[in-house]
């Protein structure tokens, strides 16, 4: 009889003592490989054009991003794919110099020539808007530009 009783003990619980270690490992991995999201998009996530001759932007602290695309709230900002977003709000091309200056203030002067402006514009936005931004950037000597695009397949 006693032989049978032993079987009733059931399976011992799985040792979960190492679980926090595993999760912490994952946590540190994500903390190291990712960067903080710095802006909320007021425009819809732009559908970037595709290109093959692309370069990676190395240093994120030297990059200021200008978004162009369709507003999420057409009642407030109007329709069309040519809304410019600087920081967290819809702006016009005239505000681009002020935006660049505010970005420059945060960095040492020696680094200013290495600053890049990344333009994340929707495929369907118009070249006219981009040209307006570009002229303003040239006025304040922010000459390095990166037209953000997704990597295409080389053929």
């Amino acid at each position: 009889m006693s032989k049978f009783r032993k079987k009733k003990k059931g399976i011992p619980a799985v040792n979960t003592a190492a679980l926090p270690d595993i999760v912490f490992m994952l946590l540190f991995f994500f903390m190291v490989t990712t960067t903080m999201r710095e802006t909320n998009l007021v425009i819809e996530n732009p559908r970037l054009p595709t290109a093959t001759e692309i370069k990676k932007l190395e240093d994120k602290s030297l990059v200021s991003t200008i978004y162009v695309g369709k507003s999420k709230d057409p009642n407030r900002d109007g329709v069309g794919y040519n809304k410019i977003q600087l920081n967290d709000k819809i702006s016009t091309a005239d505000q681009v110099p002020a935006f660049i200056f505010s970005k420059r203030d945060k960095l040492a002067e020696a680094l200013h020539p290495f600053m890049t402006t990344s333009i994340k514009a929707d495929k369907e936005s118009n070249v006219g808007t981009i040209i307006d931004i570009r002229l303003k950037l040239r006025d304040v000597n922010a000459l390095k530009i990166n037209y953000s695009s997704t990597a295409g397949v080389k053929n």
């Binding site: 999760v23 994120k60 936005s125 070249v127 040239r138 000459l143 390095k144 530009i145």
Partner: protein
């Protein structure tokens, strides 16, 4: 008093805390590396600036109209054909190049493999590609055209680099970047830098944006 055994701290909820942190970081951070077509703008010309006179044959004109149609050197063209046309134009080498900054006279392009026709560009360093687009042109098409033009340049650079140094220009730039990272390979980096500059001077990317039509 009898010494009590130290009770073990209950670590059962440790995993929950860690998971909470993990999820917080997953939500608030991004992983994507930004990449795109890089360009350097020309500096703002002074008010009394007189643009130099450039021979018609040294300009490769690309027009994009508001219906996203292309006009290249006066002919309609599809986007896929523009690379070949640009390549032919840049690599023509029909005359002598720009004189050097130290006053040395320009020399003919001895590495070009083009047709050497009189009606196309003189030298890669004189060949200018001018892109004129309408204000209403779609941005996606504009980037596609820029990309095709850059492809023409990189094909030429790769070819010349293979000829001179045995590896393609992409690989050359890659190894230069790698060598730059560590102090031990400083000598190598210097050497590679010279090679990279050499190729870049041989085929400079001269793509200018003309005033848009509206």
């Amino acid at each position: 008093m009898a010494r009590r055994e130290n009770p073990e701290i209950n670590a059962g909820s440790m995993a929950d805390i860690a998971f909470l942190l993990l999820i917080f970081f997953l939500v608030t951070t991004t992983m994507n590396v930004d990449s795109g077509v890089s360009k350097k703008l020309s500096e703002k010309p002074p008010a009394d600036y007189v643009p130099p006179v450039i021979k018609e044959k040294n300009i490769f004109e690309v027009n994009i109209n508001r219906n996203n149609e292309l006009l290249v050197e006066g002919d309609r063209m599809e986007i896929k054909d523009i690379k070949e046309a640009a390549l032919k134009f840049i690599d023509n080498g029909g005359g002598i190049g720009k004189p050097g900054e130290d006053g040395t006279p320009g020399s003919p392009c001895d590495y070009c493999q083009g047709e050497r026709s009189d009606s196309s560009s003189d030298h890669p360093n004189k060949a200018i590609i001018s892109v004129q687009s309408d204000r209403g042109t779609e941005y996606g098409v504009y980037i596609q055209v820029q990309n095709e033009l850059l492809r023409a340049y990189s094909e030429l650079r790769n070819r010349l680099s293979k000829q001179r140094y045995g590896i393609s220009f992409d690989e050359l730039e890659e190894s230069y970047k790698d060598a730059q990272k560590s102090a031990d390979t400083k000598r190598l980096a210097e050497e590679l830098k010279k090679k990279v500059e050499d190729i870049k001077i041989a085929y400079p990317q001269i793509i200018s944006d003309a005033e848009p039509t509206s």
